[in-house]
Symmetry: C2
Subunit: 421 residues, 2 copies
């Protein structure tokens, strides 16, 4: 199909079909949407052999291209990973329908009764990279919120995404919903991304889910609004009033549980007074766990710490590496994070409520934490069932983006012939 | 100042100052912000002679340029209009502070306590045309929500806006808030608008408030996100179950109370069965009130109705003109509005709950109404104190944009050393 594909025309057709489907989805019943999700989950399980076969072909090509181990890991599907997708779809089906919820309701002296109710956004474009499971998660979350989805996966996961998408379409068909409710762009051609970014008439918002270069391209080129998903330059500040044991537990987990996720800690900021009084046993823990700790001058006396360079501040390693430096109290930490952070997730370890309040008040990350592992920065852990990603922008969606964040609202105003004086 | 103004450098300085001010405003107390608003209100009243003098100079220039009567009316300030600005500022000061409000709060089995709290957005750029009062309204709403504002008024209202802005700065000074919290672009040069549209580092969102060509330019050129304020192509559908008296009252008010506002009715859709049974006395009312009614073929038999052309559907007159046509029931009305509407405000006149429910469900205007005048499409009438405009987009802000819609949120997560399994 790739060779003879007229991108502009095909993308326009996909957009028009999505817009038409979105109009129908806007008032599809909760039962119908959940039926589609359950049927899709069943289809994923029933057709797992087919999916794994498609994935094996993708993996073979990827290996032949010499693609890196981390990327191969993201690309690979196993029966366990298919099961996780199935469970994800069922969890989304089990959640309450966000559409139609009355967000606020009030009366006015003029005789008006006003309700603010949740509505779908319309058409959502999701541009992602090599993880094939995003096909299922993103498609399902969009559908749950009554939106049509146009999914554009990475070229390496093309076959896997297509096999998964076929199961989502099975689900839509079983529930008598329009098949264009979830479309997968049927080409590897990167020009399709460029088209999507400009389709202001047919796409209401673009969600880029992937690495820095993908997100940067989307933000630079898009005419369609974007829910920015920047990298997670996650800081942990160890305050002078930190509980040493909590600091050790939280820091080890935040860095090492999984190093490749956006909530993994990337930089430790340690209050100078704390360090002078109590040292930094959590740094020894990290080194013992195989983490490379890149410290500033004051920390290089610690055994195993290697020197940090200027490029280590504000860096997302997504690997067994962490930067570390001393700061002058919470204000020093705030200053560092404002300068180098990415407004994703930042954490303070302290028993002092005033310090925590200052950290929460003066920083503006989507997620601010106190005395908990930053690895909790996740829609599932927040109780949202699933997430399409962690938004770092400030408009509309912020933090974990679940079905609720994929909605808009409208005002319904009723009266009995009221006129304005 | 205009002649020697280095637009690029000056706008960058304005942006950087706004960003710095926004950081301080983000945690300014409610008392401090309200004090600034009250002091600004007082300054506006104390310095009204100066404001009216500046406005007289603007009016003189505008008349010399041969500017139209409607625009002169928007530009003109009177003591009454200054008093309205003063009252607007006081009303905004009296409203609750949206910042810091806990929007949701819950516990997780993992031991996490999660709060979602309102925050300011940051820096808001407001681009408006000839109404000088927008300077006060927009500046005050941005401040109330803890945002820094960069205001760019039309060149005709330059001196008036500058005099009003000086009073806002008096208020900021009285409350010891940064003066860069509300800045007015100090040049008439249109290149300043172009700079603002591209200042993604310094401006978080642009609110264009003005006519179709301004909004179109902003939407086409902006790299900064925009709260779209499209025109109000407001429809009223008279259903077969309409109460004839309510229809007459509502339609006359919706068209004639003020024809120049975005909530004024522009198109009547009349159910064919209703028309055949009951006629259209509301059309006779409109004609008697001096409104030009442009009807489709079926309506031209009515005395005084002139023929509508294809260009009359989907048109915002903002004048004593209305289009009118017969449709086949509520579905015919929905079809017409989907095709020609602007997602601003649309109204159904019916006593039939099922018809109203269908109209509310299948249309996606920011404001949908039943049996009330569309002239109520206004932030003040909704109880928001004041508005910066009516947003017709679907992301973030929608409908009347008051202080609450000028906020974002963040998640505050607390625990007692919780780590992720």
């Amino acid at each position: 199909m790739d060779g003879t594909f007229d991108i502009k025309a095909e993308m326009r057709d996909i957009g028009a079909a999505a817009r038409a489907a979105a109009r129908e989805l806007a008032y599809a019943s909760s039962e119908q949407k959940d039926m589609a999700l359950s049927a899709a989950a069943q289809a994923l399980w029933d057709r797992r052999a087919e999916i794994l076969e498609a994935n094996a072909a993708d993996m073979e090509d990827a290996r032949a291209k010499g693609i890196s181990g981390a990327m191969l890991d993201r690309l690979e599907l196993t029966e366990g990973r298919v099961r996780a997708m199935v469970e994800g779809l069922r969890a989304i089906a089990a959640q309450p329908d966000p559409v139609g919820a009355v967000l606020a309701e009030w009366d006015r002296p003029s005789g008006l009764h006003i309700r603010r109710v949740r509505t779908p956004i319309g058409v959502i474009g999701v541009i992602f990279e090599s993880r094939p499971n995003v096909t299922a998660d993103a498609g399902a979350l969009c559908l749950k919120a009554g939106n049509a989805a146009i999914l554009r996966g990475g070229s390496e996961s093309f076959r896997s995404a297509r096999a998964i998408h076929a199961c989502l379409v099975d689900g839509l068909r079983a529930a008598a919903l329009p098949q264009a409710a979830i479309q997968l762009v049927p080409t590897r051609d990167r020009a399709a991304v460029g088209e999507m970014l400009g389709m202001v008439e047919h796409i209401d918002v673009i969600v880029p889910r992937g690495g820095k270069s993908l997100v940067a391209r989307v933000q630079a080129e898009a005419r369609v609004p974007v829910f920015a998903h920047l990298e997670g330059i996650v800081h942990i500040y160890v305050d002078r009033a930190a509980d040493p044991e909590k600091a050790r537990r939280v820091i080890l987990n935040a860095k090492t549980r999984r190093t490749g996720i956006c909530g993994a800690a990337e930089c430790l900021l340690i209050d100078r007074a704390y360090f002078e009084a109590a040292g930094a046993p959590f740094i020894a823990d990290l080194i013992a766990a195989g983490v490379e700790v890149r410290g500033d001058d004051s920390l290089q006396a610690l055994p195993g710490v290697v020197p940090a360079g200027a490029e280590d501040w504000g860096r997302e390693y997504l690997d067994s590496i962490i930067a570390a430096r001393l700061v002058e109290g919470v204000d020093g930490a705030i200053e560092h994070i404002r300068r180098y952070g990415s407004n994703h997730t930042d954490c303070v370890i302290t028993e002092d409520d005033a310090v925590a309040a200052r950290f929460f008040e003066r920083l503006d990350s989507a997620i601010l934490m106190r005395n908990v592992s930053t690895q909790f920065a996740d829609g599932g852990e927040f109780g949202m069932g699933a997430e399409i990603g962690i938004a770092t922008g400030k408009l509309h969606a912020r933090g974990p983006v679940g079905a609720e964040q994929l909605t808009s609202f409208k005002y319904l105003v009723e009266g009995d012939g009221a006129i304005r004086a």
